[in-house]
Symmetry: C2
Subunit: 288 residues, 2 copies
C-alpha cells in the first residue's frame, strides 16, 4: 500500500497546545486587569483511579495556564443531595468562575440532578440541560468539552461539513448527543447510531465524517470506512485503543485522529478556554 493511501493524522496535541496558550494569555490579562485570576472548581465523588487521574491532569493544565483550581474531594458515600448542595454553593461563590463535576459519579448519584445544580454561566464543561439546548439551537453558551474539541479539530483541518453526511456512533448526554447537534448546526446531515442500530457497518460506510463515541474498543473497522472519509475517534480504552481500529481505518480515511493525541487533549483545552471565557464574563473584562 502506497503512502498516499495512509490518512493524515489530526494532531490534537498541537492544536490543544495552541488553544491553551491563548487561554493562558487571556488568563494573564484578566489577572492583570482585575487582580483576580480565573478559577475552576473541580468536584470529585469517591476515589475512582481514572477519575482521580483525570482531575489531576486537568488541574495541572490549569496551573500551567495561570488558572487557579479549587478541588473538592467528596467521599464515595456522598448523597445526591449533598453533592447538589456543594454545587449550588459553588454556583453562588463569586470566587469560582467555572465548575467541573468529574463523572461518572457512581451509580448512587443522580448525575442529572447534580449537573443541573451548576449555574449556566459557570457550566464550562457544558453538561447542563440548558447548555445542551443552547448547542441544539445554535445559541451562545458553553459547549460540551469533547464535542467542542471535535468541532475545533474539524475546523482546523478545514473539513467541509455543509451537506456532508456525518455519522455519530453513540448517544450519550455529554458526547454523542451534543456532537450531533453541533454537526447539524454546521449543516451536516447527521445520523445517530447506537447499540440498538440494526446495521451499523452499512450506515458508517455512507459517512463522510464518522465520530466514534460509543465506548467500545475497535468497534469501527477499516472496512466500515468510506474511502476518503474523516474519522474522529472519541473513545479511549487501556493500551491506547480507541473506538476505531486505527491500523485498518487509516488505510481508508483521508483524515483520522490518533489515540492518544487526537480528541483527548482537545477536551481539556476546551475546558480551559471556557473557564477563562467564563471568568472574563463574570469579571466584566473583555476576552478572546
Amino acid at each position: 500500500m502506497s503512502q498516499s493511501q495512509i490518512a493524515q493524522l489530526m494532531d490534537g496535541t498541537s492544536l490543544a497546545r495552541r488553544i491553551v496558550e491563548e487561554a493562558a494569555v487571556t488568563a494573564a490579562n484578566i489577572s492583570r486587569r482585575t487582580g483576580t485570576s480565573p478559577c475552576l472548581a473541580t468536584v470529585l465523588v469517591g476515589e475512582d483511579p481514572a477519575s482521580v487521574t483525570y482531575v489531576r491532569m486537568k488541574r495541572a493544565r490549569c496551573a500551567k495556564a495561570g488558572i487557579r483550581s479549587r478541588h473538592f474531594a467528596l467521599p464515595a458515600a456522598t448523597t445526591t443531595a449533598e453533592l447538589v448542595d456543594t454545587l449550588t454553593d459553588l454556583s453562588g461563590d463569586p470566587d469560582v468562575h467555572g465548575i467541573l463535576l468529574q463523572h461518572p459519579c457512581g451509580p448512587h448519584i443522580d448525575e442529572r440532578a447534580a449537573f443541573e445544580a451548576i449555574a449556566p454561566e459557570k457550566d464550562v464543561d457544558g453538561v447542563t440541560m440548558r447548555s445542551f439546548a443552547e448547542m441544539s439551537f445554535s445559541r451562545p453558551g458553553f459547549v460540551s468539552c469533547t464535542p467542542g474539541g471535535i468541532m475545533r479539530l474539524l475546523a482546523e483541518y478545514d473539513v467541509d461539513l455543509a451537506g456532508r453526511h456525518a455519522v455519530v456512533v453513540g448517544r450519550s448526554a455529554i458526547l454523542g448527543k451534543p456532537v450531533g447537534v453541533l454537526l447539524l448546526a454546521k449543516d451536516a446531515t447527521v445520523t445517530y447510531c447506537h447499540s440498538r442500530t440494526a446495521d451499523l457497518s452499512a450506515i458508517v460506510r455512507e459517512a463522510d465524517v464518522v465520530v466514534a463515541a460509543v465506548g467500545r474498543p475497535r468497534l469501527i473497522r477499516g472496512a466500515d470506512i468510506k474511502p476518503g472519509a474523516v474519522v474522529i475517534d472519541a473513545g479511549y480504552h487501556p493500551g491506547n485503543v480507541g473506538d476505531v481500529d486505527f491500523d485498518t481505518a487509516r488505510t481508508r480515511a483521508r483524515l483520522i485522529t490518533p489515540v492518544p493525541g487526537g480528541v483527548g487533549p482537545m477536551t481539556i483545552a476546551v475546558l480551559l478556554a471556557q473557564t477563562v471565557q467564563a471568568a472574563a464574563e463574570q469579571l466584566g473584562t473583555e476576552h478572546r
Copy 2:
C-alpha cells in the same frame, strides 16, 4: 396495482378524538374536585389569517373538551419586550395552567426570547429550551405537540422503532429537532436531513420510517420511499397537500398519514391533553 400494495392510512382524526375525549373526562374530574376548570392562555401577535384560524380552532376544541381558554390578541406592532411581559405575567397567573404562543410571530419578534418567558410547568406546547432538553434526555416534561402527536400515532399503529432507521426531513426547533430526539429515545437510528443535505432521495430510500417536516410541498416522492416504510407527513400546504407526494408514496409505503386527517389533528389533541395534565399538576389533583 393491487389493493394490497396500497398503504394503510394512519387515522389521526380518530386517535385525536379519543385523546381529546380522555382529556375531557380528566378536565371534568379536575373541575369537579377543585372547582376550577383547566385554562389555556392563547397569545397571538398580529392578524395573520392562518394563525387566526389555528388559534380559533384550538380554542373551539378546548371549549368542547371543558377547557377554558383566555385569548390575548396583541397588535402586530407588539415588541419582543412587550410580548415577553405578557408571557411572564401569564406564567405567574395562577388561573392559567397552560400557555400557547401561536407562531410564527413575525420577523420583528425574537421568538426564542418569547418562548423562554413561558414557565416550564405551563409549556404545554413544548417550545421552551427546557422542554427540548427534557425530550432529548428522556425526562418527564411536556413534548412539542406535533412531535408528540407523531409519536402517539406511531405507537397506536404498533410501529416498532428500536433499531429501525428513522429519517427526519427538517430540523426546525419545534418539529424536526424534537421529533428526532423522541425517535432516538425509542431506540431508532435517527438521521436528520434538511435543505443542505446532498442526496436527500438516497437517504430517504434507506428509511424504515420517514418523517417529512420540511415545509416544501410534495418534496418526498413515491420513488424515494423504501417499499414497506412508514411515512409520516407533518407538512401542510394549501389544497390539502403535504410534504409527501401522497398518491405515489402510498403505493410503496406500508403505513402513511393522510393530509388532512393524519398529523394535523394529533397536534391539537396533544395540546389539549397536556393542558389538562398541567392543570392537574398545578391544582394538585391526580390525572390520567
